[in-house]
């Protein structure tokens, strides 16, 4: 291994080459461990699928059902991605490039739906009307949940754009619309495409919302296989197909994101962006944005509020809310969230540090491996872990530890992005100065590196915390004996149509998620959302 390591690219800094080119063994091993953790369930799923005979596998894959699922899955993915792209871009343009009344409020309201898990809003919509199901319902709920993934990068790109190009276009006779199509849109391409691909990945992995909305996709069928045969293996074949689709999307996302880095090289001074006057149209735009917020936030929150006040069936059935269960579920959700946030952040720190300080080919390989997890639906990872645990890791089977490890496998990519960025901003010179002034490694770490990278680490932990609290698949499959979380309680009550009983859990879950998102927002600074220094 050390031989391969020294083949890495030469260092480019003032640090002596010998010290730079070779990472400490412990650091390298720790980074390798996180990559291995992510690889384990994916490799296992493929290995499991490969244990089918070729003929049997062909029979299982080329059955009519798989064709139907493929059509459903692709249809909903493409539609949601396109609709999210249009809504996200339109909202971003109006917020960033016009003199819109209440601009800051709309900016926050357009990003906030990210904190509302799709299965909670589908609970709200389904309980409002049983007619909102199948394709239409799925399109509505998923677009509401995922359009901020387009809004956020597009808004950021619009803020960073040089107005000179647009002015030239206008001066050369283009009207607003042609300017947008021919000048603004091409510049938005990396942000827009990147956002769209994230939406696509989200839709491909979605499970809870589809089940509640009675729309069948690969994920719901994988769960159906699990329900009829535990780890019978049929699920692993479907899972492999789904992973392949996801990895194709992920590969596109890598390309787009790679390209985006180059576009941002120029950071020269420029004037503030152009803002257009909307005239009387502004009220129509405001009405549109208001409608969007009502749909994405108003209805879900309103329905939860409505069911909270309804005795409903809860008054006459045992499906009532016991304060004890509510308390226990909340504690479990918070506990898992905190434990997973801590473990995940700890797991990515060595890898992020390796990537920033010792960017060898191996480091990049580990990074890519961890990002694979983004392209593998949580349900698939959870299923693989259940199978692995029951057959080979008995001591961990059904333990809280295993669930926390599963969360880490799922959310390491999320944490890695943020932690790596934090280490990049922490200059190595400061560490060297600290060492030169007589601090040892651990003191340097405690007094220099961590304070510098602190906000980034905090943001990573907060993001993982939010994702874990709102996670459903892995929690459902791996939660330890006699342990309920807010998410699994909402699930249990909603799938038996006990809407009133689900409400307190849904309210607490949404409350925690919104609160933690607000905290994250404060941590990242307002500039992340509004483009202004706070």
């Amino acid at each position: 291994m050390s031989e391969a390591l020294s083949a890495g690219p030469p260092a480019v800094s003032t640090v002596p080459a010998r010290a730079r080119s070779r990472a400490p063994r412990g650091l390298f091993a720790a980074a390798a461990l996180s990559a291995l953790l992510v690889l384990l369930p994916i490799a296992f799923t493929f290995w499991r699928a490969a244990s089918f005979g070729a003929a049997e596998a062909i029979d299982l894959i080329f059955r009519p059902l798989v064709g139907e699922l493929l059509i459903n899955t692709l249809m909903i993915t493409v539609s949601t991605t396109l609709v999210s792209a249009v809504i996200g871009t339109a909202a971003a343009w109006f917020v960033e490039r016009t003199h819109l009344p209440g601009r800051r409020a709309w900016a926050v309201l357009s990003a906030a739906p990210l904190a509302m898990p799709a299965f909670i809003s589908s609970y709200a919509w389904v309980s409002l009307s049983q007619d909102l199901q199948d394709f239409t319902g799925a399109l509505l709920v998923l677009t509401c949940a995922y359009f901020p993934l387009v809004y956020l990068p597009v808004a950021a790109a619009l803020r960073g754009m040089d107005p000179a190009l647009e002015e030239s276009a206008r001066a050369l006779g283009c009207n607003r619309w042609t300017t947008f199509i021919r000048v603004v849109l091409p510049q938005l391409r990396p942000a827009l495409l990147g956002g769209m691909l994230l939406v696509a990945l989200g839709v491909l992995s979605e499970f809870g919302a589809f089940t509640l909305l009675r729309f069948r996709t690969f994920t719901t069928q994988i769960y159906a296989e699990f329900r009829t045969s535990f780890d019978g293996g049929g699920a692993s074949l479907l899972a492999c197909l789904l992973i392949v689709i996801c990895l194709i999307v992920l590969a596109f996302e890598f390309r787009v994101r790679g390209a985006a880095r180059y576009e941002r090289v120029d950071r020269g001074t420029r004037r503030a962006v152009l803002r257009y006057e909307l005239g009387v149209w502004r009220w129509i735009v405001v009405a549109g944005l208001a409608l969007l917020s009502v749909t994405t936030l108003g209805v879900p929150l309103g329905m939860i509020g409505y069911w909270l006040t309804q005795p409903g069936a809860a008054a006459v059935t045992p499906a009532d809310v016991s304060p004890e269960l509510l308390f226990n579920a909340t504690i479990s959700s918070l506990g898992f969230g905190l434990a997973a946030a801590l473990l995940t952040t700890l797991l990515v720190v060595p890898l992020a540090f390796l990537l920033v300080r010792y960017p060898t080919r191996f480091a990049t390989l580990f990074e890519r491996t961890v990002f694979l997890a983004q392209g593998v639906p949580g349900l698939v990872i959870a299923l693989a872990i259940v199978s692995l645990a029951v057959h080979a890791l008995q001591p961990l089977y059904q333990s809280a530890t295993l669930l926390v490890i599963a969360y880490s496998m799922l959310f390491m990519p999320l944490a890695l992005v943020s932690v790596r960025a934090a280490f990049m901003q922490a200059q190595p010179r400061l560490e060297e100065t600290a060492r030169a002034l007589g601090l040892n490694w651990s003191q340097t770490l405690l007094r220099v590196v961590l304070p510098l990278a602190g906000p980034g680490l905090g943001a990573a932990a907060a993001m993982v915390f939010i994702s874990v609290v709102t996670e459903l698949n892995a929690t459902l499959l791996l939660s330890p004996l006699d342990t309920q979380t807010l998410a699994t309680q909402v699930w249990a009550d909603t799938s038996t149509m006990a809407f009133a009983a689900a409400a307190p859990y849904a309210a607490l879950l949404t409350g925690i998620s919104l609160f933690a998102s607000g905290l994250l927002f404060a941590l990242l600074g307002k500039s992340a959302l509004l483009g202004e220094r706070s």
Partner: protein, 347 residues
């Protein structure tokens, strides 16, 4: 069985390749401790809310606490088989007899106390006394009252496979309750006719994930009729109230396969850590007190099997049902049902 050789191969791979990882993970693992004397572990595939209520009541009465893991019947049975002797479960409580029959055949169940078995009619229990029946449920056809007239409803379950029902029937082949219906048809009519029926259904039916989905779609008019177990409709009705209920249920008559009755039952695992507590829980489940709680739960809507406990008034009296003549043994363990569903393209 496939999972055995699979498990063996996996263990081999795991020990050679993954032992380092496993050790690292195990280092900070919380090893599940052996069940304490005063608690039992329940693998539950019955309604979570009702079972929570029962478990609490049992705890109060006996001082034995109940730890619950919830899941779907067939999955939990397969899970217990996969876990083998290492299963943490003391008791398995599920919605349909075939899952219990599977565990019985694998020799994983302990005999139930005779006094417990004697509480319910013998014909519903395990033939060897390996599990006890707790409640019964009926297969029915739910229909949307604005889309279908009662007079247009089919005489037999097999009519639904005919071309005139194309697009008018909803089913949930992956629901744990559909497999026993297929097993019932198989036991009554043989394989050829069952496959033919399933292929007809495949051509006609809208597919849903579970019976809740079927009955909800029938009620909102998404599909005209749907094959479900009776209590799904009763539960929807309880939640929506009369005003929003636009559906009703139809009972197949004359001993038609469509009116098959299934039993929910419970068993004590041979590997139980607390056999005594587990037997007490089974005795509790068929006691008058527990059966009254279930019957009045307004969530479960099944027929209590304890003589003298009346079912929810919304249910058709048990004596008036007309199920086909099938014994628990004839219904079997569902091992063929999944295969036939796949053959017909429904799974």
């Amino acid at each position: 069985m496939a999972y055995n050789s699979f498990g063996a191969r996996l263990r081999a791979v795991a020990t050679t390749l993954g032992s380092a990882v496993a050790l690292t993970l195990a280092a900070f693992a919380t090893v599940p401790s052996a069940a304490e004397a005063a608690s039992i572990t329940l693998y539950n595939a019955q309604h979570e809310q009702v079972v929570n209520l029962l478990a609490k009541d049992f705890e109060k009465q006996s001082g034995i606490s109940v730890k619950i893991r919830n899941g779907e019947g067939p999955a939990m049975a397969a899970q217990i088989v996969a876990e083998g002797a290492a299963t943490p479960a003391d008791v398995y409580f599920t919605e349909n007899s075939p899952e219990l029959m599977l565990l019985e055949e694998k020799g994983l169940l302990n005999k139930v106390d005779n006094s417990t078995l004697a509480t319910v009619p013998t014909r519903f229990n395990s033939p060897t006394g390996a599990w006890v029946a707790v409640t019964a449920r009926e297969n029915v056809l739910a229909y949307n009252t604005t889309k279908v007239q009662a007079s247009q409803l089919p005489q037999s379950l097999f009519d639904l496979a005919k071309p005139e029902w194309k697009g008018k029937i909803g089913i949930a082949p992956s629901d744990g309750d559909f497999l026993p219906l297929v097993s019932a048809v198989l036991a009554l009519k043989g394989e050829a006719q069952t496959v033919q029926w399933l292929k007809g259904l495949k051509a006609n039916a809208q597919i849903f994930d579970d019976d809740e989905g079927v009955v909800a779609a029938v009620n909102r008019g998404g599909v005209a009729t749907g094959l479900i177990n009776n209590y799904y409709w009763a539960r929807l009705h309880a939640e929506l109230g009369d005003a929003k209920t636009r559906s009703a249920i139809y009972h197949f008559a004359n001993g038609d396969a469509g009116a098959a009755v299934n039993v929910s039952g419970a068993a004590v695992l041979k590997s139980a850590h607390n056999t005594d507590g587990a037997q007490k829980f089974l005795a509790y489940l068929v006691s008058e007190r527990a059966q009254e709680l279930m019957a009045k739960s307004h969530v479960m809507f099944e027929y209590p099997l304890h003589a003298g406990v009346a079912p929810d008034p919304i249910l058709k009296p048990f004596a008036e049902l007309s199920p086909p003549p099938l014994t628990i043994q004839q219904l079997g363990d569902d091992s063929q049902a999944g295969k036939l569903l796949r053959q017909a393209g429904l799974l």
